[in-house]
Amino acid sequence: MIKKLGLQKYLLIIISGVVFISLISSLFTVAYIQRSITGLIKASEESARTTNNIINLSIDISSIQSGISALLTEKDPDVIEASVAAIQAKSKKVLVDISQCQFDCPSIAELNINYDKKVSELINTKILLGKTSEAIEYYIGDVSPVYLKVLADLNNKGDIVQKNTDLQLKQSAEQAVQLKYVIASSSGLMIVIILLGGLSFRKSLVKALNAISEELKMSTSTIKDTSNKVASTSDFLSESSTEQNASIQSTSQAVQEISSMTEVNKNNVGISTKNAQESQEQIGEGKLAISNMLSAIGKISSSNNQMVSQITKNENEFGEVIHLIQDIDSKTKIINDIVFQTKLLSFNASVEAARAGEHGKGFSVVAEEIGNLAVMSGKAATEISELLNNSVKRVNEIVKNSQSAMGQIVETGKITIAEGTKSANSCHQIFDRISEESSQICSILEEINAGTLEQSKGIEEVNKSMLQLNEVANKGEQISQESFQMSAKLNEQSEQLSKIVNELVVMIDGSKNNLN
């Protein structure tokens, strides 16, 4: 039958039959219960309303009674005033309660009129006049008995309500018993139908389930194998992830070290650039100094030339001096001639004086003296002439020596200036080269700096990537661990499935001996 209809259709037919019967019996039961409950609710509501009325009345009348009781011994006029007002309000409420009464109220209303009258009399003629003894006497002898009567009447009404409620409950209980029988019989019918259907269903189902359990067994075994493989793979993956993680971490550390080194390099390049720039400035200053030196050497050279021309000029002037000396020498010769002639004259004079005799004696002395002077002048002129000759010789020597010495000095100066100029030029050239190289170094350093910055950025990017890689690795490790856990769970579930299959087999076959 199951094979013919299929399990679903077969089950659907059986369940539909059961549901249909259940529905019919339930509808019948519900209608019956509804009828019973409606009556019961009506009765309960009426009972509750009545009970509520009775309770409210009891409470209100009791509060009047207790209010009066408190008033009996009260002396404080403020309290008395408030209490009297409260009692009057309660009395009005009692009248409202009675007007809304849901049960047989006339007797209560009549009793309340009497009670109200007595309460008013008690308050107005006894309590408010301070007649305490009379008030107590009246309260006990007249008011309280009426109050007790009202309460007793309310109690009777309550008993009647209770009795009515009990009767309703009894009727409901009887209806419930009848309903019980109806439900029991319909349930019995259902059980028979379910039993027959179930037996037929069981036979077909056991067959189908046996086949399914066999297939499940095989599937379970396959799942177990697969889960074991997944577990080992996950394990391997986890280990790899851990190693990868460690490698990434060490790489990350290395990158961080490189990053810090790059930072140091960046700083050093900055310092070197600054130094190179300073050197270039100093080279500029050096070049300027060399230029200044070259111009100074030029000036020295021109001064040297001036000195040479001055020396030449001096030589000429020395020549003029020599000429002058030679002129003086020629003049000295003239003096010598004059001295000779003077001597000759003096001799002639002496001769003439001697001729003159006695008269020429004075003249002979003068002539002699002139002769002496001429001799002395001759001597002096000779000495001057000698001196002049010596001077000419000495001047010629000095000029000669000076000329050769100055020539040597000038020559040496020229050589030195030429060498200085050469050295300064080569210095200038060297400084030019240094300046050029320094500029090149500066530009190289700038390039290095730019490169370092780029490198730093690159390292930062690498660092970020490493962090991302680390995260990915961590995630990978987590996933592999989860995968491992899942495979363990899968394994567990496959074992559980295996157990279930075994239990299913036991359930189908009814004995554990059938287990393989």
Binding site: T73, K75, I140
Partner: protein
């Protein structure tokens, strides 16, 4: 049954004079309370109220007698006036669980203020008023209060104005509370 109840109540609640004395502890406590009452009697509002009542008796109470007073209900405006006037407010403010009654009499014994309606309109001719008017403090015997059923003792002190008694202040103390 009704008759029995009436007899029992009459026996229980009828005012009785007890010859019993106060204990030493109660007497000490009462002496302390008398000092407090004297202080109340010396309060300006109390003195002013008595002076005013002595100077010009209230017009509404000119024809008041003991019988007419007894017929007035507790909540009658003529009665309520005495607990609502300034002196009455002072007396109410002094009320505590020891004090069962507290009232102020003018020189003629008529009422000036009280915390609850007194049994009589005037206390003239009674020691509780006459003694204080003579400048003395009066202490009554221990009595059973018919309204509360509690034993109490009354004390009256003069209200003095410049050393002269112009009225009396009567106080009732519950002796069970005197400790």
């Amino acid at each position: 049954m009704k008759l029995f109840l009436k007899v029992a109540l009459c026996c229980l609640l009828t005012s009785q004079v007890y010859a019993e004395d106060l204990s030493k502890e109660q007497a000490t406590a009462l002496a302390k309370e008398i000092e407090t009452i004297k202080k109340i009697a010396a309060e300006p509002k109390i003195i002013e109220a008595i002076k005013a009542a002595n100077a010009a008796p209230l017009a509404d109470y000119k024809d008041m007698s003991q019988d007419k007073w007894k017929d007035l209900p507790v909540l009658d405006p003529k009665v309520r006036y005495f607990s609502k006037n300034p002196a009455g407010e002072v007396l109410k403010s002094k009320k505590n669980d020891k004090i069962t009654e507290l009232f102020l009499n003018a020189a003629d014994g008529s009422k000036v203020a009280f915390i609850s309606k007194t049994s009589g309109w005037t206390h003239k001719g009674k020691a509780k008023h006459d003694d204080p008017m003579a400048g003395k403090t009066w202490q009554g015997p221990v009595e059973m209060d018919e309204s509360t059923g509690l034993k109490s003792v009354q004390v009256a002190v003069p209200v003095l104005d410049g050393g002269k008694a112009i009225g009396s202040l009567v106080t009732g103390f519950s002796i069970t509370k005197l400790k």
